[in-house]
Amino acid sequence: MNPPSAAQTAPPSTPSKAQTDPLRQWLAIEQSERLVAFAQTASGKFCLYGIAYLAVLPLLSAWTAALCVTAAWAVMAYADQRARILFMASWGLTLFEAATDDNDFAEKIQYVMAQEHYLLLSPELLAVGALLMMMAGLWLAMQHAISRPDGLLSRRPFVCMLAVEVALLVLSAPQVDHGLLRVLAWSMLVVFTPFVWFFPLAIADLRGRAADPPAMQMAVQRPFWSHNYLPFGKGAGYLRKHFSPLPREQAITHIKGVKLLLWANFLLLLSQVLTWFFSDYLALPRLINAIDAFVEGQPLPIATGWEVLIYGTFRYALQIAIWAHLFIGLARMAGYRLPRGSWRPLESRTLMEYFNRFHFYFKEILVDLFFIPTFFKVFRQHPRLRMFTATFMAAGVGNALWHFMADIHLIAVEGLWGAISSFSSYLFYSFVLAIGVGLSQVRASMGYRPSATLAGRLYAFLFIWSFVVLLRVFSDGTRDHTFEQRLRFLLSLFGLN
């Protein structure tokens, strides 16, 4: 194998620190032999899964929470059948969600249906039909890759997925098709897009000698614990390496899963308290509203503008952590002892470390699909340039592409050029982030080490988080303001017009 899974790594840990910190020792309940023994009993499992369900409820609908926790329990209870259970849970949830009102797929399909005045089939039915077709397509593609290990799909699965994405985009263009054909092509594009980030991991794993069978590969395409565009837990290969069927190991993993879910709840509570204090009590507007006010010629006082920006950045970091902990907590309840998705980003001492800690699985997919292929291909005789280019491809190109594709429906709304144009501020963000992370990476490879003193740590904190806060103006994910408006807003915070 196994290229794309080459970066199967975890956020940095600091074991020596964890061992000496009394609070962390107290929180490390999975080290209590009594608790581990209890977690292996029937009543212990009942308690853990009960707590997990209650912890998931504030974040997911009651049905989804029940399905996820039940599926996690079933994977644990019938480990020898886990491919089948995962398959049923993951695809069952995908199809169930697609068939219900107000789901992401149907919402995106509706844009083109409205443009084509197509009312014969419901968007939900189109989404389910397209998903079933795509399931069959992915299965056939997997068989093709197995039968032709030297074929293009087997060697370059991500490039092939992008080619299919582009082909569907062309087929669903109003200049090419109209009516039912365009609606069908668009439906396929909408449901296909998330799998661009999952399927290459399956093909990469299939190249290995110890690969999981295709059924397991299919089972973790958008697994039930993270139904989105990002492979939390990566592919079957990574999951296999983080699964132990031993009862004691499983019990520890479940305790760590419950801890993470409870931590997500604590962060959710913190987020709600902050929202109450800043948004309700202090009436601090959101960043998008602050830029609106600036554009309309009624800018907020500079100090308030900074408060909005800093609070907005912090809140975003909290959101990332909450969802990452939910997804990984659920995966741990299914027995996969995965590294956390967000790992103390405030402790980062370099930009590279921040990129690694802040959104671990996002970084991992970018490393797998962009960094590693670039690293092994270009500038082999120039180590620094090689490292910088590979980092730039991941943090810049990959980052921008992932976010652009997550909002693929905007091509239907704004047209291709309009969608690219409204994406310009995020492109700028990706470019600057990539330069920053790339330089940080090159410095590290040249031997630069951040100071471990208190002053050094304070300096690193201020540098990294100033960088992140300033860039937040361009990366808030909305498309409502142009790059120029955002830049002028940022300059206004320094008193510059």
Binding site: T14, H242, F371
Partner: protein
């Protein structure tokens, strides 16, 4: 296995771990990357080091984290590729 190669690799890995704030002892079979002691960027730095110090070449299609996940595995890889 050449003892000198083993010692060179150990010194490199211990320094990489130390820079990650990990001062625990490194046993020959300890997992480095899958366990989370080192990250994916450290892995690429390790590849650079292996290419430079031992004149090895890698391609992305043959690359597998398990081949570099422990001191023993890396030493075996160097031995096999040299």
């Amino acid at each position: 296995m050449n003892r000198e190669v083993f010692d060179t690799l150990r010194a490199y890995l211990q320094e990489a771990l130390r820079l990650h704030g990990d001062t625990q002892e490194l046993a020959d079979g300890d997992s480095l990357f899958l366990s989370g002691r080192l990250d994916s960027f450290s892995m690429m730095n390790l590849i650079l080091f292996l290419e430079t110090a031992f004149a090895l070449t890698f391609s992305d299609l043959e690359f597998d984290v398990e081949k570099v996940d422990s001191l023993n595995a890396i030493a075996a890889l160097v031995h096999a590729k040299s």
